[in-house]
Each structure stands twice: as C-alpha cells, then as structure tokens.
C-alpha cells in the first residue's frame, strides 16, 4: 500500500484552532477555476518525504488543493515509521489484513496535526473518510470512530483526485459481480439490491453485455491472491460507497445540479473503472434537459445594448464618498437594533426560550425602542402597524388624514387580485380625486393629468405618480410635525424607565437630539428611490 518513504522530519499541518474547525474541504465542483488571486500557496508542510499524491503541484483549482493536502496527510499516516500501526489482525478462523483501529487514527491525527480535542480529530477524520481516503471495513458509512473499529486505507487508484465519474454501467457491473461471487461478506445490502433491480430495469436491453463484463471481472479477480483480493474488494466497495453512497449519507461527489450542464472542467476523466470502452449511450439523469442555446450577440442584441448604454451615459452618479457616508450613518443608526451587535431587550427568544419579544413586537403597546425607530424615517413609521396607527390618528386630529389614507388605499390595491384592481382604482378615484371627492387630496396638475390618463386602462401602477407625490408631501410636511407633536413625544418619553432627575434630563436631551438628527441628517428613507 504505502511506498517505503525516505526519512523525514515531522512537520505540523497548518494550525487548527481548537474550538472551531476551519474546514476548507470542498465537494467536487464543475467548472470552477481558481480565482486569480495574488496569494502564495502555503508551503506543503508534510512534504519532506515523497508524498503519494500525484496532484500537479501547480494545479490550484479548489478541489485539487484540498486533495493534495489530504493526500499528504494520508501518505504520512501510512508511513512505516511515523504512521499508524497497520497490521494483520487474527480473527476467528481468518486473518484481517492491513487494518488499523479508529482510535489509532484519532490519536495520530491529534499528535500530528496539533489537535487538542479528540472530537475535532474525529471530525477531520470523518471528512477525510467521506472523501474516500480510508474506510471502515465492515460498514458502508464513511466516518471515523474513536474506538476499536477497523479501518483500511484506500488505494491511490481510487483516490478522488483522479476525478472519477463512474457511470451507472460500471456500477451495474460491480453489483452484478458481487452477486456472482457467492461469499457472505460480499452479499448485497438492501439498498444495493434495490439499486441493482433499478439498474436492471434501466439497462434491460444491454443487460447481457453487463453480465458478461461482470463475469470477466470475476475471472480476473479469481486469479489474484486471496489476501490481496480481500483488500482490493474492500477498496472497491469503499470507492462505490463514495460514488453511490448509502441512503442517508452525504454524497461528497455530487455537483450543484444548476452548474452540471455547463461543466468545462479539464480534469473530468470519462474513463471506466473496469476498462470499458465508451459506448454511445451515457447514463445521464433523465431530468436534465439539453442545454438551451447560448444567446449569441445578434445584430438586434447589440442594437438593444447600444440603446441601453445610451440611457446610462448621462445618469446622475452619486460620489463614492457620499455613498460611504450614508452607509455608515445608516448602519450606525440601526446598529442599536441589530441583535448581532447590540444585545436586545427583552431577551432573544432563541436564547432565553422566552417568546415575550415576539409578543411585544406583535402587540399594540410598543416599546420605547420601537417608538424611537419611527423617528428614523417615514418608512419606518409606516412599516410598524402601531406607528402607522398613531400617525393616522395625529393626522385626523389635524383634519389632514386624506393623504395617508390615499397612500394606504393604493398600497392595498396593489396587493389585490388582478380582477379586483380595476374596481378598486375607480373607488379610489371617487374617494380622493374626483370633482367634489369626500377626501380630496391635493395633487399637482401634472400628476393629476397622468393619473386620469392611466385610469382609462386601470392597473396596479395607475397611481404611481400620485402616490409618489403624496408620499413626498407627507414626508416633508406632516411627518416632521408628527415627530414634534405631543402624541408622539409623550409616547416616546412615557416608556422611559424611571431614572434619577439628572439621568432623565440627559436622556431627554439625547432623545431630542437623536430625533432632531434624524430629521435633518442626510438619511436614506429608501422608499422612493431616486434613480
């Protein structure tokens, strides 16, 4: 199995933090190219001896980098001097060749990779096993246990870095072969029997061919030494455990199905495990549709692009320094409400098992924090049902609620089913905009014209202009008065916890200042984007 390595010094793998396992292992991907970064590949720590890895050292696709690291570890762990004790174990009536216990592996990992926590060593070991570099001899589930379970190392022929993509024909041959060999240790597991039955149905027409191939494989196997066969059989099985895992196990070789069709990976080797010559039909998932045509640039496309680009040339672009400023002030303002940065009150329901926060959020009795947020922007006030209610009440007291009611009515109309929209649009016109309307709103003549035009063919967006205009009006006029109003200020202050005279005054100052700041500061209200 392991080559006889030269003497070497022991080197540590890169540092692992004891509490968080920073894994960089990845599934086999499709056409990922390594990003063109300037980073230097960290020196290969275990490589003063010759590694069994055949991964090209200049290959820096993510999977290959990881396979190389694993293979360096796997080489060292099998070293006669520095590795784990791999030996033949005498069992009742038989000998089990070339095995090592889980505990030995865990201990070795802890020692050689500077891991303090055995659980972490088991985790890394399980991840390496899941990729198929070593396996339990009596189980299909590829994980590492810290006990006397026997493990064996995988033959380099079967290593994932060879980019195997075994076809179902190969798998069928394998399962078929197993049933021919008449050994209890080779009996099919339930899921394998099911797989075989499924494959027989799928390959009904070429089953004779598959059967013959299986027979040929059996013949070849018989020629081998008994002990060697035991080892090879188990390695072959472990290979299939990676590529056709037990149900319930994660398949480490599967790729994101969305990227499958566009694979351009140069590593993909379409060779058969059993040396079959490629036939016409490849086993592809029946659900994968053939890739749609790639949209090439026709003359029309380019013309459309030119039109689009022309609209973009003269657009107004905000200075980056201003953008940075607004992002910073936004996050600073909202960080008090960000549970990841500031502890919230009442306690987070996930931590304390106490749902009172949710109940509070849903209640009509808002907390002081919540009331404060209404002062950030009109959007925030309207987003909160309690805020919206209070604002409406305030407007009613001023006999100017028709603007908000109009805005809300349009919002509601936009969410209605299509069939109701036309009627609602008419109703809104009658209520707010028609001659002598009961809740007449004040629209500029331009918006009024546009809107009445739109209503000839009423739709969800007929009132966009009007809504926009009214929103801006509310923001600049009624909203600012609302924030200064008694009804809002009382609510803002009434919920304060009792403090000393001194404390109360300072807090009051702070609140008035912050409310004032939010009114005058450059702040993003975001509801109506300026383009």
């Amino acid at each position: 199995m392991a080559e006889a390595p030269q003497q070497q010094q022991e080197e540590e793998e890169e540092e692992e933090q004891p509490s968080s396992v920073e894994e960089t292992e990845a599934d086999e991907e499709s056409e990922e190219e390594a990003k063109e970064s300037v980073h230097t590949t960290p020196p290969r720590p275990l490589l003063s001896m010759r590694s069994m890895s055949t991964v090209d050292p200049d290959d820096d696709s993510p999977n290959m980098i990881v396979y190389r690291k694993i293979e360096d570890i796997v080489t060292l762990i099998q070293d006669e001097e520095e590795g784990v004790p791999i030996r033949t174990v005498k069992s009742f009536m038989t000998k089990i060749p070339s095995v090592v216990t889980g505990t030995d592996i865990v201990q070795w990992l802890m020692k050689n990779l500077a891991i303090e926590d055995p659980a972490e060593a088991m985790h890394i070991g399980s991840l390496i096993a899941a990729q198929g570099y070593f396996f339990p001899i009596s189980d299909h589930v590829l994980s590492l246990k810290d006990d006397g379970t026997f493990y064996r190392f995988q033959a380099p022929y079967f290593w994932p870095s060879n980019c195997w993509e075994p076809e179902n024909t190969d798998y069928a041959i394998y399962l078929c072969k197993r049933t021919m060999q008449n050994k209890t240790r080779l009996e099919l597991a339930d899921y394998e029997a099911e797989n075989l039955a499924r494959l027989q149905r799928a390959f009904a027409r070429k089953w004779e061919f598959i059967y013959m191939q299986a027979e040929a494989q059996v013949k070849i196997d018989r020629k081998k030494d008994k002990t060697e066969r035991k080892i090879l059989d188990s390695q072959e099985r472990a290979f299939w455990d990676v590529h056709r895992p037990v149900p319930g196990c994660v398949n480490t070789t599967e790729m994101d199905i969305r990227k499958c069709r566009r694979m351009k990976n140069p590593h993909r080797v379409k060779k058969s495990v059993y040396g079959l010559v490629e036939e016409g039909t490849q086993s592809q998932s029946p659900i994968l549709t053939p890739s749609h045509h790639c949209r090439k640039g026709t003359k029309e496309d380019v013309e459309k692009e030119i039109l689009f680009l022309n609209t973009q040339i003269d657009r107004h672009r905000m200075k980056m320094s201003k953008v940075a400023e607004s992002l910073i002030s936004y996050t600073d303002q909202y960080m008090d409400y960000d549970q990841f940065v500031t502890a919230q009150e009442p306690a987070n329901p996930w931590n304390s098992d106490d749902p009172s926060l949710w109940e509070l959020e849903a209640s009509k009795e808002p907390s002081q924090q919540r009331v404060k947020k209404w002062g950030f922007s009109l959007e925030e006030a309207l987003k909160d049902p309690a805020g919206q209610e209070l604002f409406l009440k305030f407007l009613e007291s001023e006999f100017s609620s028709e603007n908000l009611r109009f805005w809300l009515a349009v919002q509601d109309m936009k969410r209605r089913p299509q069939q109701d929209v036309a009627q609602r649009a008419e109703d809104i016109w009658a209520e707010f905009l028609a001659e002598g309307a009961p809740s007449s709103i004040n629209l500029d003549s331009h918006s009024y014209e546009r809107t009445s035009q739109n209503l000839k063919d009423p739709g969800r967006y007929s009132y966009e202009d009007a809504q926009d205009h009214i929103y801006k009006l509310m923001k600049s006029d009624s909203y600012t008065r609302f924030l200064r109003s008694n009804v809002y200020q009382d609510l803002l202050m009434a919920k304060k916890k009792p403090e000393t005279e001194q404390g109360r005054r300072t807090s009051l100052e702070k609140f008035t200042r912050s409310v004032g700041k939010s009114l005058t500061g450059k702040r993003l209200t975001g509801l109506m984007q300026s383009s």
Partner: protein
C-alpha cells in the same frame, strides 16, 4: 455575409465606445474608498455566535430556505422531495409538503404566511396553500424553459421567478399567467432580491452581472459588473440603495445604485471556495455568506473584514437567512441540517 459582419462589428465598436464612456463617468465619482471611510464607523469587534438549534428532518441536501415575515416560521426545501415548514422556536415541523419533482432548487414564503412556492429542475414554480387542512397545490406556473433558481412573493397575488433560461418573470397568481418577462441576462439567472418598496428588484446571473429591474416598466434599469464568475446570491442592503452579491469567484461585492458601481469587495486569500448564499443582519452591518468550504463566514460590510465564522456543517452551506426581526441567522446545508445561530 461580409457586409453584415462589418455592420455588427461597427455596432460592437460603438458599444465598446459607450462602455468606455460609462466607465469613465463611474470613475469620475469614485472619490473615496469605502473601507478607509469606514474607519469612522463604530467597531463591531469579533462576532462569535453560538449554535442555538439544529433542525433535523430532511433526508437529503437542503437547497434553499426562506423565513416567514413573522420571524418565527421558516420553510426549507430538500432534494428528498419535501418542503418542511418549521416553528424555529420549538424546532417542530408544522407542515410537510411533498413535491412532485425532488429536484427542487428554491423555496419562498409569502408575506401573508398563507402560501409557499418552490421550483427547480422541473422548470416550474409551484405554489402551495399551507393553511389548508393538508397542503394544497394552488398553481403550477409553467412557462420557463430552464430550471427555476429563485422565487419571491410580492403578495398572495404576484410572484417573481428567476430561471436558468436567463429570464426573470413576474406572474399573476390568479390566472397563473406570466405578466412581465425580464430579458437581458445572457447567462442562467441564479438569484433575485426584491426591494423594500417592491417597485424594483435585482438579479444575479451566470454572466457575472447583476441587474436592477423596474417592476412597473418591465425593463432593466442598471447593470453592474465586476465579478469574474457566476453570481449565485444577491440581497438588498436594508437602506434599499445598495445590494450585495456572492459569486463562484470566491468573493462578495457590494454595489450602490446611486453611484452605479461597486463599492467594496469582500475577499480573502485563504478563502478558496465559491459563495453559495448570503444574507445581511438587519442593520446591514454584517454579511453572513455561505461558502462551498462548509462554513458561513461573517463580514463587516463597511470595513470589508472577516469578523467571524459559523462552522458546524459537514457539507456545503447552500442557503442562509436572517428573519425580519433580526434575531438570529439560519444556515442550511447539503448535510441535510438547518442550524440557527445568534
């Protein structure tokens, strides 16, 4: 033939000329660096989150998850052919929706909480009523010619979808018909995000571009470039004026709509894995990005630094989400588990 080619070449040259002008205009306003400006922002320090819950129930890879607007329920989709609706507080499964096609790639919760939608390799978006006694299929939206990569409800009456056929589409759920088809991307659309006011949305695609669309006009308003590979994930920054993308090129980027360009890139020499998913904390300060390296890394969105990591999954992190109340973050993985952290 030659004349036509010459014509196209001339047009392409015009295109290039315009692009150069636009780049120059963008450069002209690029008068500052976000991460250095962020020196004045409050420090967030190291973000260390604890695992609060591990939701077990799926039997295969989880591809997608979405929070309900009540911040308590959540729906997840797995290639075991099921959608599961969870009560995240108790960890109980509330509803199980069996799918006709197990190759699901995306799931969404309607803001009302009455409906969920899912779709994938079947090229369809199926909408289910989960408030009925047993989940009932409401609509099968069948018009895309490519896989369904993402879907988002505007209301119980409208839904937006993104597809591998390079288009996004707005559907009317009453009739089950397409209302607007958004065509402009030249690669599979992988993800979309709705703005707060639901007037616009952004999409990310395999052509490495992000685009802003107007829902009312049905047109592409802005295009953002910078990534060098597929954009897999996209989310709006809570102020509605910026958005963040995650890509196979192993980086995330923030783009601002008003300055019409990239603001900052989030990348690290040690991160060699593609970004599969991302979500932001409710102040926008933190970005939780799921990577192929089985971790979810946490970024300071203003300073562009890594401030934490969520390790615990045994396979790729395929989806992440922060609920509306911002009380935690959920990660879903190909290892079939969903984990809640805060």
């Amino acid at each position: 033939m030659a004349a036509e080619k010459a014509e196209i070449d001339a047009l392409k040259k015009e295109c290039d000329g315009l692009r150069t002008q636009i780049e120059a205009a963008r450069k002209a306003v690029n008068d500052g660096n976000m991460s250095s400006a962020a020196g004045s922002a409050t420090d967030v320090g190291r973000v260390q989150l604890k695992l609060r819950k591990s939701l077990k129930g799926h039997l295969a890879k989880i591809y997608s998850m979405h929070w309900s607007s009540d911040s308590r329920s959540m729906v997840s989709a797995s290639q075991d052919g099921k959608l599961l609706v969870w009560d995240t507080h108790t960890g109980n499964k509330l509803v199980a929706v069996p799918l006709k096609s197990a190759w699901v790639m995306s799931v969404a919760f309607a803001p009302s909480g009455n409906l969920v939608a899912s779709g994938g390799l079947d090229n369809m978006c199926t909408v289910y009523n989960i408030k009925a006694a047993s989940p009932k299929t409401l609509r099968e939206l069948d018009a895309h010619t490519g896989y369904l990569s993402c879907c988002r409800f505007l209301s119980d009456n409208e839904i937006l979808t993104a597809s591998g056929d390079t288009t996004c589409c707005l559907w009317d759920l009453e009739t089950g018909k397409q209302k607007i088809i958004f065509t402009n991307h030249i690669g599979d659309c992988m993800s979309l995000a709705l703005s707060n006011d639901e007037n616009t949305f952004v999409s990310g695609a395999c052509d490495s571009l992000a685009k802003l669309w107007d829902l009312r006009e049905g047109t592409c308003k802005q295009t953002f470039s910078g990534h060098t590979s597929d954009i897999n994930a996209i989310q709006f920054f809570p102020n509605g004026n910026a958005f963040v993308t995650g890509s196979d090129d192993c980086s995330c980027k923030m783009y601002d709509l008003r300055s019409d360009q990239e603001v900052i890139t989030y990348q690290d020499a040690s991160l060699n894995a593609g970004v599969t998913s991302l979500t932001l904390s409710n102040s926008g300060r933190l970005i939780f990005a799921g990577y192929d390296d089985f971790n979810c890394h946490i970024w300071d969105s203003l300073k562009g630094e890594k401030v934490g990591v969520l390790s615990g999954h045994d396979n790729r992190v395929s989806c992440t989400g922060v609920p509306a109340d911002g009380m935690g973050v959920c990660t879903g993985s190909w290892d079939s588990f969903l984990k809640l952290w805060n």
